[in-house]
Symmetry: D3
Subunit: 133 residues, 6 copies
């Protein structure tokens, strides 16, 4: 797996607003995976202090998901992308809502985390299509 991830022909993508030209939906996905892990651990643990910590950290991770998605939506995607993929605005708006109070911030619910992950994957699929073109 390591070979695949770091083989010379595969560029890992990221972002900064210089812009450096490096973007990657994996940044949002990693944080969303973390949220799913948190929810799973909280479900297996009765300690109220642990639950408090789980909520604190979930809140931070969810904020990071929102941030990474907003960055893609504003900084990576350009007008021609939005013309070609008219669903993109709604997709990002729904994904960031799923990372917020009406989504994983507001619940310790593995299903909501899965919905968030699925939305991020939809965005990632479009992202990688645009990189091919």
């Amino acid at each position: 797996m390591f070979r695949k991830l770091f083989a010379p022909t595969i560029e890992v993508q990221a972002h900064c607003d210089l812009p450096c030209g490096v973007y990657d939906p994996a940044q949002a996905r990693i944080e969303a995976e973390s949220i799913k892990g948190i929810i799973s651990k909280a479900a297996d643990n009765d300690d109220p202090d642990f639950r408090t910590r789980a909520i604190i950290i979930k809140e931070q991770r969810a904020e990071l998901v929102k941030h990474h998605l907003w960055v893609l939506w504003t900084d990576y995607f350009k007008a021609p992308h939005f013309e070609k993929y008219p669903q993109l605005h709604t997709l990002f708006n729904e994904a960031t809502k799923l990372a917020g109070a009406s989504g994983v911030k507001g619940a310790l619910d593995a299903d909501v985390a899965d919905q968030l992950l699925a939305k991020i994957d939809e965005i990632a699929e479009i992202f990688w299509e645009t990189k091919k073109g």
Copy 2:
């Protein structure tokens, strides 16, 4: 490429200190790739204000590289790993130094960015080996 990255059998890894159990050296690598992109763009641009912005953002990204590596070193790797891989401490110390003042923070030098990326890849290789075991 997308299929590979998000195929159901491949877990994207990350971290939070609940701990959620999700870690991934890609987080450090993405920021290091961004630094390489910044250095490349600054080399092609004469505007002093652009160079100032490049240095500001490089500073932030380098701090993120350090943070993601420190998290792996403290939170993911345990005593048995350090026994099995006695070079790990030095590897992490050198990698984080390469992300600091004596490395990419202190220079706009593509070679230093490549050295940092190579160190991160060495760490990632060990990381993925420990995940197999």
Copy 3:
């Protein structure tokens, strides 16, 4: 002016993602005004260190503009708003781009700051219409 701003019948609006139900486009506008002030001061000052500081602080303020706008777009505006105001997605996307590298982050240009302020005002006008309804 003070009386108007703090008269008991006028609610100052803001945001947190509890959600607390308090939002206000003024948060973005205040940071954008600050950017305009920074650009104006940098234009009147030859000291290169001052210019460096101006760019550092402009970068931070621009990031805050983006953040405050993203919060409105994701957390305040709901599906019915996007149906009623089909231009909203594009408006937010353009406004946040104007706060980024292709806008005030990438330039010390009062005209770009004015364009950003005008976009924020367009958003604010819609925002206040939805509060009346």
Copy 4:
């Protein structure tokens, strides 16, 4: 209301420590309004996880209130203001204490939030008087 807020003769005020010359007590007030909203929502909700989130976010918002007030006290107000308004130091000290552990941080109490709002309004009244002069 929008017309009033964004009419060309009314300057929205803010701050950065360039200084950009833009300040506005509304920044502190908006966060304090948010705290009041949080307290109100927590009072209507029995879910312990919601209460935990309310406390997390209240903590952050209260810190922002303190920060915005400290900025006004240090960066906007000058020696002549403190001579003309000898109560200013105490006013700011009490207002920031009301935003701290002995105030809204330490309690989910709407009355304390109202006391904080009242102090901010006292400060704002003096602020706008100094802007006229």
Copy 5:
């Protein structure tokens, strides 16, 4: 020296707004020392990129000085202290101004750093007197 600093009878003091009851003016002083070090290194170095980094980091350290001082002023000192030491408000206001745009933020000047350090020491002297009482 170590023995003195960490001897069991000497409490190192700090702060959090629980409050934890631990405060220490050393936190502000350490950051101010750092600023003095930055200014000294920038004076010995002609590289414009180094100077840019020096200004970036000085800006952050100065903000930390302000923050640590504000915390002492609001959270540690109480009404009886302000009665006993009527100069305290002015002292803190001047110290935080020296950490801002009209002080070390606005200049690469060792004298200004020394003035800031001297003000912090004046505050520290009063602080330690109140701890004895």
Copy 6:
């Protein structure tokens, strides 16, 4: 005590990654003392909201402990130090683990806080030895 701390022959040490050359293990210790204070106050208080606040703030302070220690390990200590003190890597790794989920983050336990303080003191002892050399 004040005289000792701020006497002209005693340098207070700190850090920034310019590097400014100013480091001090006291920064980590102060935050660890704060954690101990938090744990003690939480033990004396039955209010669940207070306990929630205690956990929120302990989480932040523990993160600061980790950060200050990581900075010393990467930025202050150099290869010759690690040769002379072969236990240093393990010491830092254990200290930062004690500041994390398996240490003070994961428990409200005064003993764990004391273990963390003891580790920081071991590091500090070595640190001050290297400063003498």
